[in-house]
Symmetry: C4
């Protein structure tokens, strides 16, 4: 396969990767736009305390900011992982990647929804939507990985069968769990959020795990 490869294949891949990285970079940086300086009446007895309390009272904004940032960063690392294993791209992969980027840029929306309604009686809807968006994102990762790995189409020759199976299994595993999180949200919003949080740690850790595997390969 590496002999028949298009000459411009690697350059194409580079451009798609740069474009995707650009979208991730802008999406992750736009998050700060939602942090607003609180307006406080400074003619009170203790204005410094008033400002401190106003800043503390904005904690849902900070939570949204940090969570969205971490979410997009972990998605970037996982996107990264897929791109490390492929050597070229095609139009199908390009549009699946576009669908994934659409969802990446939309992450601040469900996150802000949860931050705003978590402590209200409308938390169930907010958490169901949040988990629902991640069902879609998981589907996009599955589709992207399938587009790359089916018949080893776009993969580098050096990628082992074990690595492919492991990634396939990890992404496939996410689907029923996020779906469960959507359903459980109607019963208990916190349990739904808990499943999503555990899955974030899982995506972060599976990013960790993969690195030694790859460096082993390069030593042999």
């Amino acid at each position: 396969m590496s002999q028949k490869q298009e000459p411009g294949g690697e350059k194409e891949l580079g451009r798609l990767q740069s474009f995707s990285d650009g979208v991730f970079a802008v999406a992750i940086t736009l998050l700060v736009v939602d942090l607003k300086v609180p307006l406080v009446d400074v003619k009170t007895a203790s204005p410094s305390l008033g400002l401190a309390l106003a800043l503390l009272g904005q904690w849902p904004s900070y939570l949204t900011f940090v969570t969205s940032f971490a979410t997009i960063l972990i998605m970037w690392v996982n996107h990264h992982t897929i791109f490390k294993l492929i050597q070229r791209t095609d139009t199908h992969f390009l549009f699946v990647n576009g669908f994934l980027l659409l969802l990446v840029t939309s992450v601040p929306f469900p996150t802000a929804l949860v931050a705003q309604y978590l402590t209200t009686p409308a938390a169930k809807t907010a958490c169901a939507v949040y988990a629902g968006v991640f069902v879609l994102i998981n589907m996009a990762y599955n589709a992207l990985w399938w587009s790359a790995s089916s018949h080893q189409r776009l993969l580098k020759a050096s990628v082992s069968r074990v690595q492919v199976q492991k990634l396939t299994r990890n992404y496939a595993l996410g689907f029923p769990l996020y779906l469960l999180a959507v359903l459980l949200a109607f019963w208990n919003a916190s349990v739904s959020l808990g499943i999503c949080s555990i899955l974030w740690i899982f995506w972060m850790v599976t990013g960790y795990e993969k690195s030694p595997l790859m460096s082993n390969r390069s030593v042999q």
Copy 2:
């Protein structure tokens, strides 16, 4: 031609491409800024239902978001296609590309206009403006492609006459159709939008078609 080529030509082209990709990436990511979390009174009998209905009621925003995203993505793929066929740039190409980027960044505006007025009696104006912007965008693509391909000025030596003619024909075809969409908008807004939608599918499919052609070339 490849012998007389400027030494810095490919680097120049790379920088123009990176800049353009940056503009596309920012434009496509900025779209999410228009998605706002709805404010719902949570002291009603069923706040979860109220939030769900408020979220559903925002469907024109989601439609704008997804449509603008898909539009910019398809335009990026087509921009991509032109850049794949050229080997250097010059100042004329640079300013035509700048005019195209101006229009690319403005896409969210007519799209939001349609989303807001499609179900109102002012739909005709909204759809005429929408189609009108795509007349301009089509003109920019024609001008960019003409700037690249006239006398094979900026094209790679490997690009065949057939490929050039096909792209020239496709872009030229768009012009009368978008113009028709502008005129028909004053009679029936939905027909106008329908023509624009069919053309999007056409641009997406012609992106698809081109890939096998190119890989054939690389195998020979």
Copy 3:
């Protein structure tokens, strides 16, 4: 000089260029944020006409958008021209470039100021501020070019003395003219704007002129 060059010099330059291009790309794309869909009462006798008139009434926004876009694009081309002639960077150049980027990102502000106050009695102040910002931008280009070219410090060996003198003269010429535009604004706002507009055309044309010179060089 090219023998003593730092090994990482070109890579450094590449990173500075990418960063600068990123700033230009984001700045040029952010402009669209100021285009807002007008809110029109659709329950009138002719809502389509009402929307059309509301859209036309927003012409100062469109003017600001197109002018800011063209301005930043021409500045990018000129930035480009300087970077094409240098082969390495140093910390002084880096901070002067930073000062220039600060001004580049601020361009939408004076442009919007002029668009909003051009047809009012406060036009003089608006145009004086506009021309004043371009005095600063001209100073930044002069400083950047001086930082690059003084004692041929950062220039490529292939850059001729004539090219250096020409660029030095062009940038130096801008300073008294922009200063004049500031002073004349207090007498007549339109004359001030006219001078700035003529200078934009001058920067665009001098970008045009340089290209043949460079390709001549590469053929010899």
Copy 4:
């Protein structure tokens, strides 16, 4: 170490650097969004003077804009310095870098807070938060540098022990000073800000110092 290096190590590093540069570029360009054109009543006796005064009255916005810009630029130069000394990346470095980027994008928030409350009785809280954010940023730089330099893990072979010790000392020095600035804010806001400002000049100057060292190395 350079023999056992992963083959894709440099490419990985390049992608992380591009992503980081993208975040810096977007963050630095987003700052202008907070500059708003003032709305002035132009039906007064001297509208030009009114607009001029309104523009001057916005000085805290300009101060925030310039200070945030300079801050992010200096942080970019320092980020740059670390990346120049390393030859590969790993997952730990990647997440520490992500934490740093989170803080970089948040810089406009504490800066705007200080600009808004510096001249009010709530200045102490604003300055304490400002200095507090830079305690975190300093911790992130220490962690990033430690992640890169501990056991020379990710460093290039050519980096001397002296360079490592100097950077380690500089970043470690920042921590107690920023912490002091937080504590002193409760006594005197201006003294706190003064310490932060002196440290900015220090980070800028230590960026300056490093360049000759590196070019010396390359000549030998």
